[in-house]
């Protein structure tokens, strides 16, 4: 435990924060702190929720959630005028009293062009799947092309945004050039940084927030006047809750509170955009219009080394490979693919069925046991939990086709990657997967029908002409780069065709 900050330091920090917001609220910038505090509290008593949001943030060095903001306004409005300052301080003391907060500085970002990009998770974690890959792919383009962005994260001390330190920036902007270790970060994170407060600036959320941050982020979206944008990956935790751990559903429902008060959502596929549009429709019951929603489909860029691997190897005369890539969970429907493979094997069709993807032991144990059992019966089937990238790229190259029959995806990256590498795909006939498939190189079916899966796999194994046609389609499918995605997303977010009335 670090020692408690001295009262002088706390007072000095409060004074500095009050000065930082005084001009924005039209209060005298050069008055002494007690006078500024009194003027600020009078402003709150006058009733503007937006002013109260900033006043609370300055006093408590913390973004309020709705309860804190309401309690603050209530205390100030209902106190006799001589006791208002004391009431305001009493209500905010819970927040400011938390470790690390009382001596924080405050920087106001009031340039309406500036976008604060909340990359908290990707900046502070070495995890690199799904959402983090998207963040690390497009955010560097925003920075490199000189967009007025400021990368922020929720402070390690909680409650407000701070700038990224060098290691955190590297995790976003230079992921490939070496991964900083998490351990070294801990010390860096101890250093206290001034909080960064949007005031008329924009805020963009390319990640789903952690549950603890949702209430303050939603309050910011509702009351701070910031134009808030969200990258909508999917709504799976609430619209396909049967495929998700309950904690994920709970967290996502809280995140929807941020979406509810956001100005803008970009779905990473038309299907994802439509899911968010459905949520927005439901908001009429509580008198809200919900965000403006557009589709900005994800890009697909396979690394150069993948293409090299694909181009480099020649095909052997081995069994045709059917490749199924994806984390192992019920939603991805690997059980159905395995069942279809078993049936085809029983019919005498010969091919090599390869599953690749990690998963919890609980999910994978019975599946792997089943795979082992079929191997003893002579079926060429394998399930890899860990595979290096070069090994995976090589499989993509040698595969006759890949199979992704997920029951719900926001985008369906493995389909897009397979097509991009020229390998045909068998995928689902709805949602984002059907969208990706429409670009060519794919066969689509109902993934809930075992019969359709068996029939389609049988056909794709037998019909060389079909495969040749799909390969040609895949080769001709248009490329979409992350630079394109980044530009389109920026334009959509910053072009408010109309004032979004909340």
């Amino acid at each position: 435990m670090s020692p408690a900050p001295s009262p002088t330091a706390v007072e000095a920090a409060l004074g500095a924060r009050l000065r930082a917001v005084a001009t924005a609220l039209g209060l005298p910038a050069d008055a002494d702190p007690p006078q500024q505090l009194a003027a600020l509290v009078e402003r709150v008593a006058a009733g503007s929720a937006r002013d109260a949001w900033l006043a609370y943030t300055a006093i408590a060095a913390t973004f309020p959630d709705r309860n804190a903001l309401a309690a603050f306004r209530r205390a100030v409005e209902l106190a006799p005028s001589s006791e208002r300052v004391a009431a305001a301080l009493a209500v905010s003391v819970d927040d400011i009293g938390r470790p690390g907060r009382a001596t924080r500085g405050l920087e106001l970002v009031d340039d309406p062009e500036t976008v604060l990009v909340d990359v908290s998770f990707s900046a502070s974690n070495d995890h690199n799947t799904g959402v983090q890959r998207v963040v690390r792919s497009f955010v560097p383009h925003w920075v490199a092309s000189g967009r007025p962005v400021r990368l922020v994260r929720w402070s390690p001390f909680g409650g407000a945004y701070v700038d990224l330190d060098d290691r955190e920036r590297a995790r976003i902007l230079a992921w490939r050039s070496g991964v900083p270790t998490t351990v070294a970060d801990r010390a860096a994170e101890r250093a206290e940084r001034p909080i960064v407060v949007p005031w008329g600036a924009r805020v963009f959320h390319p990640e789903v927030l952690q549950q603890a941050e949702c209430a303050a982020a939603a309050c910011l979206a509702e009351y701070s006047g910031a134009k808030v944008g969200v990258l909508g990956h999917d709504t799976i935790p609430v619209s396909s809750a049967d495929s998700q751990p309950e904690l994920e559903s709970e967290r996502f429902a809280k995140f929807l509170d941020v979406v509810k008060h956001a100005d803008f959502v970009a779905g990473v596929s038309r299907s994802a955009a439509d899911e968010f549009a459905g949520f927005a429709t439901a908001l009429s019951a509580q008198g809200l219009r919900g965000p403006r929603i557009v589709a900005v489909p994800n890009a697909v860029e396979v690394p150069a080394e993948a293409r090299a691997a694909v181009a480099g190897e020649g095909a052997g005369d081995e069994l045709p490979i059917v490749l199924c890539v994806g984390s192992h969970e019920p939603r991805k429907n690997q059980e159905a693919v395995l069942a279809a493979a078993e049936q085809l094997f029983a019919e005498g069709v010969r091919f090599r069925m390869v599953f690749v993807g990690g998963g919890g032991r609980q999910q994978t144990a019975s599946f792997d046991a089943k795979v082992a059992r079929w191997r003893t019966r002579g079926m060429a089937v394998e399930s890899h939990r860990r595979l290096s990238d070069p090994e995976l790229w090589s499989l993509y190259r040698r595969a006759r086709f890949t199979v992704l029959l997920s029951l719900h995806e926001g985008f369906g990256l493995p389909v897009a990657e397979s097509v991009s590498l020229g390998t045909p795909v068998l995928t689902s006939d709805f949602g984002s997967l059907a969208e990706v498939a429409a670009a060519g190189g794919c066969v689509t079916i109902d993934p809930r029908s075992d019969v359709q899966i068996v029939d389609a796999m049988r056909r794709m194994l037998a019909d060389d002409e079909l495969i040749a046609r799909l390969r040609a389609e895949a080769a001709a499918a248009p490329e979409r780069t992350w630079a394109q995605f980044a530009d389109e997303l920026w334009q959509q977010f910053t072009a408010d065709e109309q004032e979004t009335a909340k």
């Binding site: 439509d274 439901a282 908001l283 049936q343």
Partner: protein, 486 residues
């Protein structure tokens, strides 16, 4: 004739009667012989046939994934292997009697277990009582096992009145398992109990039945920030079961808008979701005469000189009582003269509300809270009030708005959703519930302006009022339509 099966042979006959009714199994057939007859009759593996075999042999509703696995086992290794697997699994279990039903099953599990009347239970009881009881089967899920049983005498007594109970089909004993197959399944409740929503999901996906639910709201998802912890996740699971229903009958246009929005969210999973229709809830207030009103006034010690403002609703964040009290205190500080009566029980997270009430009482504000009020007391309160306030943040229906207006008492309520639908043009004043000042302004008008109050009171006569008879009949048409087309 009701066939109840206990032994393996009886169960196989039960399965045969559904899948191959023209094929009679002999009572001397063993399992292998029975399987051979079924296969010879052309019975094949589908999700419905696999569900039936598993549910009947297990004496329980399987998980959705178990049905899929059973169908695969059947298709790849044959029905005999599936039957042998289930018999092995059931070897040591107690074997309840099993009945397959193709009829109209009404699932009133929660209503059959609680003597309390929440809004949901009122809908279930009032509707069921008006349906042709000889044509429905009242069923409940077991407390923790994935089994459906015919409602017992105890459960039935909580769902129906004694007279109705006599008219209904025979009560069950709770140990007879009902397997819905090509049936009609009616859910007039919300299910957030794990074994029940998972079981209902199986019935919805795999039993070949038509399913109809009453749709109350999607508040736990659309207003998750003020839902009790755990409720959004549990509700999302309930919705995942509702996704395979055929029809959801929403209790208001606002609730229908929520379900329509949710249905659109299912597109990414390739699910069409249920058709959404609306049957607006009925409401009624009982007659209370002047003596009851006066008695209520005396019991609560209300000053006859002060106008009374009434607020009804359980104490939980969504009902927004703290903002209402904030508005009241603003007015009291400005010198407004009125007393407040708040009727409603503690629900969850009511500490802030309780503290605020205590603080205001300490300041001497004329504020009375009533935690357990009978219907008659509530109706008397509406009658003695100058007006009522109900500024909830989200409601599927908003019964306190309807009941106030039905009592001829104007109401200050939220300017959106079902509350607005009920109040606008029928004696309501709309406010922004998120801004206490907006609530206070609306209250100020009704406190000061007698002419406006009278005008609004006159407007309440225009409130459209459905009856429970209408409501139950509308639901029944939906159910019967479903039964006919199943």
């Amino acid at each position: 004739m009701t066939i109840v099966a206990r032994t393996t042979a009886e169960r196989l006959r039960l399965i045969a009667a559904q899948l191959a009714p023209q094929t009679a199994l002999s009572s001397t057939d063993d399992a292998d012989a029975a399987v051979a007859r079924l296969v010879a009759a052309g019975v094949t593996a589908t999700s419905e046939s696999a569900y039936l075999v598993r549910a009947v042999l297990d004496g329980a509703i399987p998980e959705p994934e178990e049905v899929v696995a059973a169908e695969r086992l059947w298709r790849v290794e044959g029905l005999g292997e599936l039957v042998r697997e289930r018999l092995r699994a059931a070897r040591w279990r107690r074997r309840p009697a099993v009945r397959v039903s193709n009829g109209i099953l009404v699932d009133a599990t929660d209503t059959g277990r609680t003597p309390y009347t929440t809004g949901i239970q009122r809908v279930a009881r009032e509707s069921i009582a008006r349906w042709p009881l000889a044509r429905i089967e009242l069923v409940c899920w077991d407390r923790s096992r994935p089994r459906i049983h015919t409602a017992t005498d105890e459960e039935r007594a909580l769902i129906l009145s004694a007279a109705e109970s006599a008219a209904a089909q025979e009560a069950g004993h709770g140990d007879e398992v009902v397997v819905p197959f090509h049936a009609t399944y009616v859910l007039p409740e919300i299910s957030v109990a794990r074994h029940r929503y998972r079981g209902i999901r199986t019935v919805a996906r795999h039993s070949g039945s038509r399913l109809v639910a009453v749709g109350f709201d999607c508040i736990a998802i659309t207003t998750a920030e003020i839902a009790p912890p755990g409720m959004p996740a549990a509700f999302a699971q309930y919705l995942a079961s509702l996704a395979s229903f055929d029809e959801v009958v929403a209790i208001s246009r606002a609730a229908a808008a929520e379900f329509e929005g949710w249905r659109r969210m299912l597109g990414g999973a390739g699910l069409p979701g249920p058709a959404v229709s609306v049957a607006e809830l009925p409401f009624a207030v009982g007659d209370v005469d002047e003596s009851v009103i006066e008695a209520t006034r005396r019991e609560l010690g209300l000053d006859p000189a002060l106008p009374v403002v009434v607020a009804v609703g359980s104490h939980e964040p969504r009902k927004n009582h703290v903002a209402f009290l904030h508005a009241c205190e603003l007015l009291w500080q400005q010198g407004a003269q009125f007393a407040v009566v708040m009727a409603g029980g503690a629900s969850w997270d009511s500490d802030l509300f309780d503290d605020f009430v205590a603080e205001l009482k300490q300041r001497g504000r004329p504020l009375t809270t009533v935690s357990r009020a009978s219907d008659a007391t509530i109706w008397a309160l509406y009658r003695l009030a100058r007006f009522s306030v109900f500024c909830s943040l989200n409601e599927g229906f908003g019964l306190p708005v309807a009941e106030s207006l039905a009592s001829g008492t104007p109401v200050v309520t939220s300017g959106f959703g079902s509350m607005r639908e009920l109040a606008e043009g029928h004696g309501g004043v709309l406010a922004d519930p998120r801004e206490p000042r907006s609530i206070a302004e609306a209250m100020r008008v009704l406190l000061d302006d007698d002419a406006e109050l009278a005008r609004l009171a006159a407007e309440t006569a225009a409130l459209p009022r459905a009856t429970w008879d209408d409501y139950a009949a509308t639901l029944w048409r939906g159910i019967e339509g479903a039964a006919v087309s199943a």
